[in-house]
């Protein structure tokens, strides 16, 4: 079984190895590892910041070459289905000249300072950036370690290092026939200085990067042995489920728990300010007990809240000036001189994450500390939140992280851990708090609603000379990472609305932050672009229609200065058979996107039935994500992201009535299913650019392609998501 290669390691790292050398660029340090191997410590550099002075050295990733030849990579990223536990080891194995099977990945323990994600600034896996952050430093580390191991061998044999060769975890000297394993050389290598300059392989010499390496976590996921957070069973554990105030901000007024306590297997009822939990021997008893509880709620200030009121506030907010996210040229003047003006408003709904593994967290609060078992995208955040909730010192809170049964942004939040700690404080021994699907959907933290007011001015030929967009909605970063919110702006909320790939001479984009009352918001797969790309690519389609031009030809004409975007557009259109005739009520739609440092174009082919039902028949995606580390993973992530995006476009909407989320389970919050899944074709552009992010890009990019295809099929422009089938009914 290979799951043992993915080890969660809550214990403190042994950093007793004495560091004896530091590379000039100050991000790599080498020394002896505990047990006599070679330890390389790296600091993955922060984006937009040069490597800091060497005396600040604070490593956040480690490579340990043990005396038995095992390569251990300690990384702060988590596996949630995106394949990162396979693609990250590929980077080090490539330069170190070891087989992928020789690399074991250990999960970093929570330590915000040590393991901060260089692109996020906190210890978290999100925003499609694990590969982007690790690409350069991990290859550099691999090459450095290889160079030191070769130098150690050459010194031992008294030969020129250039006459030695490293391969498959061994150094050999051809003329003398001598060879030594990395394990045998590790201790010697640790005493050598770190080389100042090591050459990285040229892309044409990659042997591993770019190959469809088998994922290391697959076997355990097909035989039922993979352990997710929800599967843990510490000895003596009880199982709890809960009801939280159906209105956000409400309180428990009264609980009658007599019937619940009488249920066989129910051990305890825990009453909190705003939730009630039933603790039992098993989830069956806990759920039965929950159903038997009679809870009266004080709904609090949001008792009458309604989604339409929230959207109304956003719409109003777009009438006032916001923070200027981008300004190019003079939109006002260009608009005044335009031959045609096109205006529209767009909106997107609240969305739940609904990962297949419902929210859960297991906690044992002890007098002197707290132990947590969970699957989290942000383990240090869980640790900090749990320490506060349990009122225990941070270093007494141990977090065991596990495989994640779907993250999509939901597991970047610590609310589930806080809730579990609040309950566990009342329970003697460990308790696993499992949310029902209803609680999971009704107490999610949601992709925010947005309202957009866009306009454009076209010249006499129909080409855009001015583009204006003012949109209102929640800033998640302002709450999640306050330092990232500056002057009324954050880089996530505006991604996809600014820095358009198209050459438009005058452009003005403003953002108005409006936090909806009574409903929490959070990151959702494809984050800012999940909203912005729907708007910009739908509106671009509107401009092509206003100019009476073909949507692909129109975009092509605006992409002269963006050859990578133009290339994916051409490939997607060509492979999809753009322009070939289609039957009635079938249409193709295009979208082009540059987000997460990846270029992508989609063609969606949809069929709209007489009663307005939409079926996406086929999707063709062309992607340029720079250097491809694992093409099979790239394909899988696009297949995945496309389904996720179509699910949202066709079915996704969370609404509030009387302060309550109206959707409850997969009957009212529907998922795309096998019989609705389109064919998906993925075409990957060969590139030697640095890798772009792959986990999310397909989700934001597919939504406007579907909306544009519906327009092509029916002539109906959909300016709000999800698709409203009644608006698409064939008249008569």
């Amino acid at each position: 079984m290979m799951l043992d290669r993915i080890v969660s390691r809550p214990a403190e790292l042994d950093q007793s190895g004495s560091a004896n050398s530091l590379s000039r660029r100050g991000f790599l340090q080498a020394g002896a590892a505990a047990g006599g191997g070679l330890l390389l410590s790296m600091r993955l550099p922060f984006a937009n910041r040069d490597a800091e002075a060497a005396d600040d050295f604070a490593p956040n990733a480690f490579v340990r070459i043990e005396r038995n030849g095992q390569i251990v990579l300690i990384m702060p990223y988590v596996e949630m289905g995106q394949g990162t536990y396979t693609s990250i080891p590929m980077l080090i194995a490539e330069e170190l000249e070891v087989d992928l099977q020789q690399v074991q990945l250990e999960h970093a323990p929570p330590n915000e300072k040590l393991y901060a994600n260089p692109l996020l600034g906190v210890q978290a896996t999100g925003n499609s950036n694990a590969i982007r952050a690790a690409w350069q430093p991990l290859r550099q580390a691999g090459a450095t370690a290889r160079t030191m191991l070769v130098a150690a061998a050459a010194k031992r044999w008294n030969v020129d290092p250039a006459s030695c060769r490293a391969q498959s975890g061994e150094v050999s000297h051809a003329t003398s026939g001598r060879r030594s394993t990395y394990g045998e050389l590790a201790a010697d290598a640790a005493r050598l200085p770190v080389p100042e300059n090591v050459a990285l392989k040229r892309p044409e010499n990659f042997e591993l990067i770019g190959t469809p390496a088998k994922r290391l976590d697959t076997p355990a996921k097909v035989n039922g042995t993979a352990v997710y957070g929800i599967d843990v069973r510490p000895p003596g554990m009880k199982i709890a489920t809960l009801a939280q105030s159906p209105v956000f901000g409400g309180r428990v007024k009264n609980v009658n728990d007599a019937a619940a306590k009488a249920v066989k297997g129910v051990r305890q009822i825990v009453r909190l300010d705003d939730a009630v939990a039933v603790v039992a021997d098993h989830m069956g008893a806990a759920k039965k007990g929950l159903a038997a509880l009679k809870i009266e709620w004080d709904d609090g200030p949001h008792a009458k809240l309604d989604t339409n009121a929230i959207i109304g506030e956003l719409e109003k907010a777009t009438l006032n000036a916001g923070a200027v996210a981008q300004n190019i040229g003079d939109v006002e003047m260009a608009m005044a001189g335009a031959a045609t003006k096109v205006e529209a408003t767009y909106r997107v709904p609240f969305l739940a994450h609904a990962p297949m593994e419902p929210m859960n967290c297991t906690v044992h609060v002890r007098k002197d500390g707290c132990e947590i078992w969970v699957g989290s995208q942000a383990v240090a955040r869980v640790q900090a939140a749990a320490a506060k909730a349990a009122d225990r010192p941070l270093d007494k809170v141990v977090v065991h992280n596990h495989l994640i049964g779907g993250g999509f942004g939901r597991r970047l939040e610590a609310d589930g851990a806080i809730r579990a700690v609040e309950i566990a404080k009342h329970v003697d021994g460990p308790v696993k708090v499992v949310w029902t699907r209803e609680e999971d959907i009704q107490h999610d933290m949601y992709r925010p609603v947005f309202f957009d007011r866009v306009s454009a001015g076209l010249d006499a030929k129909g080409m855009p000379v001015a583009w204006s967009n003012r949109f209102a909605g929640s800033s998640i970063l302002a709450r999640w990472l306050p330092p990232a919110f500056n002057n009324g702006l954050d880089p996530d909320t505006t991604e996809g609305a600014i820095d358009l790939v198209y050459a438009i001479p005058n452009l003005h984009v403003e953002y108005v932050r409006v936090e909806p009352p009574g409903i929490p918001t959070a990151f959702w797969r494809s984050v800012g672009p999940s909203h912005n790309v729907f708007v910009t690519e739908s509106f671009m389609d509107e401009l092509a229609a206003a100019a009476k031009q073909d949507p692909v030809a129109y975009r092509r004409a605006l992409l002269d200065k963006s050859p990578r975007a133009q290339a994916v557009l051409e490939i997607a259109a060509d492979k999809a058979g753009w322009g070939r005739p289609l039957p009635g009520r079938v249409g193709r739609g295009i979208s082009v996107q540059h987000a997460f440092a990846t270029y992508m174009a989609h063609v969606a082919e949809v069929e709209v039935s007489k009663d307005g039902a939409v079926r996406v028949r086929r999707v063709v995606c062309a992607v340029d994500c720079g250097t491809v580390v694992n093409p099979d993973t790239v394909q899988a992530q696009i297949q995945s992201a496309v389904i996720f995006g179509i699910t949202a476009a066709l079915h996704g909407e969370i609404t509030l009535k009387d302060g309550r989320v109206e959707q409850t389970n997969f009957d009212t919050y529907q998922m795309l299913r096998m019989n609705e899944a389109p064919e998906i074709e993925v075409h990957i552009v060969r590139s030697s650019e640095p890798p772009g992010g792959m986990g999310e890009a397909g989700t934001s990019a597919i939504v406007p392609a579907v909306a544009n295809a519906i327009f092509a099929a029916t002539g109906k422009r959909l300016r709000k998501m999800p698709v409203d089938a009644t608006a698409l009914k064939q008249p008569g």
Binding site: H282, G284, P355, P358, V434, R437, Q639, S640, F666, N675
Partner: protein, 156 residues
């Protein structure tokens, strides 16, 4: 009153209310966590097991309804010919992503293949549309079922 149920050829005595769903008996009482909880209402298929070879949703199957029927779970499906072929194909096609729904997908697909060795696309739609995959692995699930149907060996 304790119930005796037969899971993967082993008899287990469990002392729970008769209306307790089989899912919780498997996961929480017997500690067999390969079978997953997704919705509790037979809407997602994550909890699929076989009862006498038929795919059923264990989250709505009361333990007192099982009687002497044989329950098979993901932990033992590899011992069946169809299950072994399906698991092999799942590995070959790299189907799982987060993997959480895959126990249920494999149980549904194994039941399909055992009863219908050459399923058409429409058969696959019928058998598999009750299983949600939030990671969207449907394209590969379809390919893997077809590959398993074409394989002649005894599987992995």
């Amino acid at each position: 009153m304790p119930f005796t149920i037969k899971v993967n050829d082993n008899a287990h005595s469990v002392d729970v209310d008769g209306d307790t769903p089989l899912l919780w008996v498997l996961r929480d009482v017997l500690g067999m966590t390969g079978t997953k909880f997704g919705c509790g209402m037979a809407l997602c298929g994550a909890c699929t097991v076989h009862v006498d070879g038929i795919a059923v949703r264990s989250c709505i199957t009361p333990v007192d309804s099982i009687g002497t029927s044989a329950i098979t779970t993901i932990e033992a499906i590899g011992a069946t010919a169809a299950g072994a072929k399906i698991q092999r194909a799942w590995l070959d096609r790299e189907v799982p992503q987060c993997g959480y729904c895959q126990s249920g997908q494999i149980m549904s697909a194994s039941a399909l293949l055992a009863s219908n060795p050459r399923p058409t696309d429409s058969d696959i739609d019928d058998a598999m549309s009750g299983n949600i995959c939030r990671c969207g692995t449907y394209v590969r699930i379809r390919e893997a079922i077809k590959q398993a149907a074409q394989s002649t060996g005894q599987g992995g």
